[in-house]
C-alpha cells in the first residue's frame, strides 16, 4: 500500500494520448502488432538451475536451489515449492529494498499459483523419508530490468531454471537406515525434477475505454493501461491460473477470446523454452565428457574414499569429531553437529588443517569454486551452514556469487572413513597438488 509515488516515473498527458490514439489504429509505439510478443532470449548460468530471461527490455533471473527439510504436517510425503521474488531497485526507481511491495507479492503469487496448484512439478517424488525428510525447492526470481510485463518474463525464468535444475541423489543408509546420505554429483548423477507440464503466463493489457486488448505490454503501455489480465496455460489446453485483479471491466466474451489467443502464444513460448533447455543440456553433457578423465584419476575406487575435483581433506580430525557426534545420535542431533561444524569450521586447532587452509585458498583462487571441507555429510543443513561461514571468510579472495554456496552444498564432499584417513593425509595432499595443477 505504501508506494513512494514521488520516486516513480510519471507519464505525461501527451504520451498517454499518443499511445491511446495510436492503438485505435492498431499501432503500438514499438512497432509491434497488438498480439505480438517481444523478442525472447533464454540464457543459462554455469550452475544447474540458473537462468536469465530477456523479454525485450525486461530482464529477469531465476535460481533454483534445494534443501532437505521437514515436510508440512498435513502433507507428510510431499516436497515443498517456494517462490521468492526480489524486486531490485536497479530495475526501476519505484522499487525499494526491504519488504516486497504489492506488485512483487502479486508476481510471486501468480507464478506460485501457476506452478503449485496446477501440479506442474511432481512434489511426491521429492519425498525422501515420509514424514521426516523431503526436498524443498526454492525458486528465487530477481528482477534486473523492468521493461514491462514482469510476470511473463519471471514465469519463463522460473520454468527454465526448474527444467535445468538437478538435485543430488540421496539414499537411506547409516547404522539404523534412517540417515539420509547425499551423494555428490561425481558419485551419482544428480536427478532432474519431474515436470509434468509447463504453465506459461501470458499477459494482456486493456487500454482505453473501448478496451483495446494488447499482449505483452511494455513499460509505457503499462502506465497507460486500465486493466491487466494474466492467463497461465499449458499446451495441453488446460488453464492453470488466471489473474485479473480489478481494473477496467471487460465482457466475458473478451476474456474467452484472450484465453484462446493465449493458448496459441503459450505453445509458441513452450517451444522456445524447450529448445533453449535442449541446447543447454547438450552443451553441459559435452562439458561432462571432458571432465571425466580428471575425476576418474583422482578418486579412488572405493566409494568411501571418493573426492570431488579440487577437494582437500580439510581436517580429518574435524571429520572424526563431527562423525563421532553424528554417529552417536540420530537426526535429532544434526543440529548439534551443525553447531559443531560451525565452531570447528574456520577456526580449527588441528595442525594439518592449517596447511590445508592455505591450500584451499589457492584452490579457490584457481577455480571459482569455494573449497569446502571434507565431512561425512548426513544432511544438507549443517553442511550449508558451514559453507556459509567459510564463504564469508574467503569472500575477498573468492569472487563467486552468493548462490554458489548453495551449489557447493550440492556439489559435494566425501565421506571420510575414520582411521584410514588419518593414515593417508600426505598421499592425498600430493594428489590434491596434482589436481590443482590440473585445475589451474
Amino acid at each position: 500500500m505504501e508506494q513512494r509515488l514521488a520516486n516513480s516515473w510519471r507519464m505525461t498527458v501527451n504520451e498517454k494520448n499518443f499511445i491511446q490514439t495510436a492503438l485505435l489504429s492498431d499501432l503500438r509505439i514499438d512497432g509491434r502488432g497488438p498480439f505480438d510478443y517481444r523478442n525472447l532470449t533464454i540464457q543459462f548460468g554455469i550452475e544447474d538451475g540458473s537462468s536469465e530471461v530477456q523479454l525485450g527490455q525486461t530482464r529477469v533471473m531465476g535460481f533454483v536451489t534445494s534443501q532437505l527439510v521437514q515436510p508440512y504436517r498435513d502433507r507428510p510425503n510431499e516436497g515443498t515449492l517456494a517462490i521468492f521474488t526480489e524486486f531490485s531497485p536497479m530495475a526501476d526507481p519505484s522499487f525499494e529494498i526491504g519488504r516486497p511491495g504489492e506488485s512483487a507479492v502479486e508476481l510471486g503469487r501468480i507464478v506460485d499459483r501457476g506452478l503449485r496448484e496446477s501440479r506442474a512439478i511432481d512434489t511426491e517424488s521429492l519425498c525422501v523419508v515420509a514424514g521426516k525428510w523431503v526436498w524443498s525447492i526454492r525458486i528465487d526470481l530477481h528482477i534486473l530490468d523492468n521493461g514491462g510485463n514482469l510476470v511473463d518474463a519471471a514465469n519463463i525464468a522460473a520454468l527454465a531454471a526448474l527444467l535445468t535444475f538437478r538435485r543430488p541423489e540421496c539414499t537411506l543408509g547409516g547404522e539404523d537406515g534412517q540417515e539420509v546420505i547425499i551423494h555428490p554429483p561425481e558419485v551419482r548423477e544428480p536427478l532432474a525434477l519431474i515436470v509434468h507440464h509447463l504453465p506459461i503466463a501470458v499477459t494482456f493489457a486493456f487500454i482505453g475505454n473501448e478496451s483495446r486488448v494488447i499482449i505483452d505490454p511494455s513499460h509505457f503501455e503499462e502506465a497507460v493501461m486500465g486493466g491487466k489480465l494474466t492467463a497461465t496455460l499449458n499446451t495441453n489446453g488446460d488453464v492453470c491460473a488466471i489473474q485479473k485483479a480489478g481494473g477496467e471491466g471487460v465482457m466475458q466474451s473478451v476474456v474467452m477470446q484472450c484465453l484462446r489467443i493465449a493458448s496459441v502464444k503459450a505453445a509458441d513460448i513452450t517451444g522456445k523454452i524447450k529448445k533453449a533447455v535442449e541446447s543447454y543440456k547438450t552443451k553441459r553433457d559435452l562439458k561432462k565428457i571432458k571432465r571425466h578423465p580428471d575425476s576418474v584419476d583422482i578418486s579412488n575406487i572405493s566409494k568411501d574414499m571418493e573426492k570431488s575435483k579440487l577437494e582437500l581433506v580439510k581436517c580429518q580430525s574435524d571429520d572424526m569429531e563431527i562423525e563421532g557426534h553424528s554417529s552417536k545420535k540420530d537426526e535429532s542431533s544434526l543440529r548439534h553437529s551443525k553447531h559443531k561444524a560451525l565452531i570447528s569450521g574456520p577456526s580449527s586447532w588441528d595442525p594439518y588443517s592449517k596447511i590445508a587452509d592455505t591450500d584451499e585458498l589457492k584452490a579457490s583462487l584457481a577455480s571459482r569454486a569455494v573449497a569446502t571441507p571434507n565431512l561425512k555429510m548426513d544432511v544438507m543443513p549443517p553442511e550449508k551452514q558451514q559453507l556459509n561461514v567459510k564463504d564469508e571468510s574467503h569472500r575477498d579472495a573468492d569472487p563467486s556469487p552468493p548462490l554458489l554456496v548453495a551449489a557447493e552444498a550440492r556439489e559435494e564432499k566425501n565421506k571420510a572413513k575414520t582411521l584410514l584417513d588419518a593414515v593417508k593425509p600426505k598421499h592425498k595432499r600430493k594428489k590434491k597438488n596434482a589436481s590443482n595443477s590440473n585445475g589451474s
Binding site: 500500500m1 510425503n77 510471486g108 485479473k244 484465453l259
Partner: protein, 277 residues
C-alpha cells in the same frame, strides 16, 4: 482350491472391510484429497446439503460501525466479513496525493479467531497483501475517483469467520459500505466463487470444498454493465469447462447483486422514514 475356499471363508466371516482397508490404506494416503471424498453424492447433494447450483444463505447489515463513514457486515453462509469505509477525507501522506483523482486504499485482514486454528499472523503476509491489492483495484474501477481529487478513501475489511469465499464476501461487504458512505460509483461490484469437483460445477464453495485441491474461480462483476472486473482462478481446468464455471459464477454474482439492491433499498426507506420524508 483349498486356499480359495479358505479365502472365501475369511471374507464371509470378517467381511471384506478387513482385507480391503489393509490394501487401501497406503493408496489413500498417496492420492490427492480430491478422490478421497465425495463432494457431490449420487443424489446430487453436496456436503452441506446444497444443490450444485445453489448459493449459501446471504445476510447483510448496513451501518454497523458508528465511527466510520460507511460500514457493512456481509455473511455468505458461515463466512462473515465486516467492512468499514472512511472517506473522502484528507490524504494522510502528502507525497501520495493525486491532483486529479481520489486515492483509494484498502486493507484486508483476517481475525485471529476467524479460522479453525488460531492464526498467528493475520496481517502482512503475502496472501493478505495480495487480497488487499485485489480488492483495492476492484473497487477503484467502480468508484468515480475523478469527482474527489486530492482526497483519500480508506476501505478496511476484516474477516470474522472464514469458511471459504472470503474474497467474494469482502468485495460484497466493501460495496455495501461504500454505498452506505455515499461515495459515487458507476455500478456496484458483486463477487462470487465457483469450483469444479467430481465432474460438476459447484457454486459458492465452502472451506472444505475449496481446500479439496480442485479449481476455484472467483469472479467479480459490474452487474448493470455486465462486465467482469475481477477474475481469479487456480488449479487446472480445461478451457471449455472453465467457461462453464465462469458463467456459473457470474450467475451467482447477479443473484448477490439483486440481494444487495434489496438491502440498499430497505436501508434507504429506513433513512427516509427517520427523516420524516
Amino acid at each position: 482350491m483349498g486356499l480359495k475356499c479358505l479365502a472365501q471363508h475369511y471374507l464371509k466371516s470378517t467381511g471384506p472391510s478387513f482385507i480391503l482397508t489393509k490394501k487401501n490404506k497406503p493408496l489413500r494416503r498417496r492420492t490427492a484429497s480430491l478422490s478421497k471424498m465425495e463432494f457431490v453424492n449420487p443424489e446430487g447433494l453436496r456436503l452441506d446439503g446444497r444443490r450444485p447450483m445453489e448459493m449459501r444463505q446471504l445476510r447483510a447489515e448496513i451501518g454497523v460501525v458508528s465511527k466510520a463513514d460507511g460500514s457493512a457486515v456481509f455473511e455468505m453462509g458461515n463466512t462473515k466479513v465486516i467492512a468499514a469505509v472512511y472517506g473522502p477525507r484528507e490524504v494522510q501522506n502528502r507525497s501520495q496525493q493525486s491532483n486529479d483523482e481520489a486515492l483509494v486504499r484498502c486493507e484486508y485482514s483476517m481475525a485471529n479467531f476467524s479460522t479453525g486454528d488460531r492464526m498467528r499472523k493475520p496481517k502482512g503476509d503475502r496472501r493478505s497483501t495480495e487480497i488487499s491489492m485485489v480488492i483495492r483495484q476492484t473497487m477503484e474501477a467502480c468508484i468515480l475517483t475523478h469527482l474527489m481529487p486530492r482526497s483519500q478513501i480508506d476501505i478496511f475489511v476484516q474477516v470474522l469467520q472464514a469458511d471459504g469465499g472470503t474474497r467474494s464476501a469482502c468485495i460484497n461487504a466493501a460495496t455495501l459500505a461504500l454505498a452506505d458512505a455515499g461515495i459515487p460509483m458507476t455500478d456496484i461490484v458483486t463477487s462470487c466463487s465457483a469450483g469444479f469437483l467430481n465432474g460438476t460445477p459447484l457454486l459458492d464453495l465452502n472451506y472444505v470444498e475449496d481446500s479439496a485441491g480442485g479449481p476455484d474461480v472467483t469472479v467479480g462483476i459490474l452487474p448493470k454493465l455486465d462486465k467482469v472486473t475481477l477474475l481469479q482462478m487456480d488449479s487446472k481446468l480445461q478451457m471449455e469447462t472453465f467457461e462453464t464455471v465462469m458463467q456459473l459464477a457470474t450467475e451467482g454474482c447477479k443473484a448477490v447483486a439483486s440481494y444487495i439492491r434489496e438491502v440498499l433499498l430497505e436501508n434507504t426507506k429506513q433513512l427516509e422514514s427517520r427523516r420524516g420524508v
